[in-house]
């Protein structure tokens, strides 16, 4: 049972508050992704879990163990770094064996473990090479193998795929997913790529300026963004927010804004009852669908429509937001 409990973690560098009371309960064997824009404090949180940074206040527990004051070596975590940090002076074998050697594991067990994880990551033919003789993707595999070899309670990864080219990233992504599902290790994974987050995560924690806005499974995050920020960050293009739409009479009390995703409209070329006219400003044909930028009562609105519809720039289109997809947000940007 390796849960991770993060309670009220605060951290500032100088007078900049980077983490403002972060609380997170990660379940056993869960794959959690920390998602957020650059500089929001993802790496800092991950490094605090690893023990590489010390929090100003708050508690970190791994399982039942309070590790808040322990150095990294005593936490039984493993970490994969963005630049892989494969030791250049050691062979791949010795890299993978490094953590086991520190634990004074017997040579037989080391050999066994190294070979098993190497096989898992498909690098068994590289064991005698040095990192200078490896490609970026291979280094990445070594870094993951090294982390898995110590059979950690918790696996931490900081943007492990961001230094790979697009194609390799896709391939590694699905491989990682399989390997980690198999290893059943509780994992915290940092990325700023929402597609990566959606495809990998059991649950996504969306971070915003040192806070966690929402911590939920990918579907829920997409369907019911807890805050205006989450809605605006996730989805491509992101959710539309319309301020006090007087045409709608379904707004609950205190509602300030309507959030609606671009694909959640009923579309018609002719005026119909309950439909609103919008003027089309730009059209981007994306093959599977078309993306329109338009204006409704002076507010920008993005709409995805089927690629067959014969729309024209400057033309008028009639829309109706699907009622079950409408989300309402209050003055503070929180969902009602």
């Amino acid at each position: 049972m390796t849960t991770i409990t993060i309670e009220n973690i605060k951290k500032s560098f100088g007078d900049a508050d980077i983490l403002k009371s972060v609380t997170l309960d990660i379940k056993d064997q869960e794959f959690t992704v920390l998602l957020g824009p650059s500089g929001c404090g993802k790496s800092t949180l991950l490094r605090i879990i690893a023990g590489l940074e010390t929090q100003d206040s708050g508690v970190i527990k791994i399982g039942e163990r309070d590790v808040s004051a322990l150095p990294p070596r005593d936490r039984n975590v493993a970490m994969v770094f963005q630049n892989y940090a494969v030791f250049p002076h050691l062979t791949v074998f010795e890299n993978i064996a490094f953590g086991l050697r520190m634990k004074k594991v017997s040579d037989d067990k080391i050999k066994h473990n190294v070979e098993r994880t190497a096989e898992l990551m498909h690098i068994e033919h590289l064991l005698s090479r040095y990192s200078g003789q490896l490609s970026g993707g291979q280094r990445q595999r070594v870094a993951v193998a090294r982390a898995l070899a110590v059979e950690p309670d918790v696996l931490l990864m900081d943007e492990p795929l961001s230094n790979l080219d697009a194609l390799l990233r896709l391939q590694m992504r699905s491989e990682l997913k399989n390997v980690l599902e198999e290893s059943k290790t509780t994992t915290v994974y940092v990325t700023h790529d929402q597609v990566e987050a959606m495809s990998l995560a059991d649950r996504i924690a969306v971070m915003n300026e040192g806070r966690i806005d929402q911590y939920d499974n990918p579907d829920e995050i997409y369907r019911n963004p807890a805050t205006e920020y989450v809605g605006g960050f996730i989805g491509n293009p992101p959710m539309n927010f319309l301020t006090s739409p007087h045409w709608s009479n379904s707004a609950p009390d205190g509602a300030q804004k309507l959030g609606i995703r671009p694909e959640d409209f009923l579309v018609s070329m002719e005026d119909q009852v309950g439909y609103l006219p919008v003027q089309i400003q730009t059209i981007e044909k994306l093959g599977s669908h078309q993306q329109l930028t338009s204006e409704l009562e002076g507010q920008g609105l993005r709409i995805n429509i089927a690629s067959e519809l014969p729309v024209q720039q400057g033309g008028i289109l009639f829309l109706q937001p699907k009622p079950e997809k409408m989300r309402w947000y209050d003055v503070r940007g929180e969902i009602i």
Partner: protein, 290 residues
Amino acid sequence: MKMDTNNQRESEPTPDVVANYTSTKKVWRWLFISSAAFLIAWVLFPIYLLVVSALSSADVVNGWPKSFIPEFDLETMTFFMNYYGVLAALKNSLVAAAFTMIISIGLGTPAGYALARFDFWGKEAFRMIILLTRAFPMPLLALPLAVIFIQVGLDDTLFGLSLVHASLALPFAVLITASLFLGIPVELEEAAWVLGCNRWQAFYKVVMPLALPGLTASAVFAFVISWNEVFAAAVLTINNQTLTAFLVQSLSASPAEVKFAGGLILILPALLFLYVVRKYLFSMWGISNR
């Protein structure tokens, strides 16, 4: 691109102009190569002549006119080695240089590591002091230290001398090791911490092997600083003279063989030194830009 086509349209280059252009280019090239060759000869030829002298018989060394080709006679070298005081001086030089190496690397490496890996109050002040030591003729400090060493019983000892030499070498050691450690990604150390190392183990198992060539280079640098230093050695040693002190003090008295053979022995480490440090030459001095 565009400019090229414009030029061509305006004046189609005649064969004459082209020939002219290529010939000036040739002249420049020739000038370039010959001046580079001249400068190489300028550096190497005097050293070659020293080798010629040191590897000649005593008659030739003291005779005239000289031949420009070495005889490969070991008489001069053997004479030098058997000359009274030379062996002791040679040994003293080695001992003082070894001490200097140990002190400056032993003290400088931790400081370099601190500069590379920590932000701390007073860091800039420390760096300034280190840089400041270079703006002073350090060997002069041997003068007051000669007096102080008499009071504390370090006068005429190799250890006392190597303290002075270490104060020359330490600032370099600090700056060189700092730049070395900066060049080793901190993630490598962090990875080691996460995998079960404490700070010392991570340094010893990961940083040290990676920094070793550079550390060797700065150790050799410290060695050469001490090996070459004349003034402090001459002021601080009397009975325990180093080779430089010995040579400079017996200059007028000693025969030519001793000078030339001694000169050759003196420059041998220089050649080795540059070979070892050539990769680090620029981080050594490059960092002095800021």
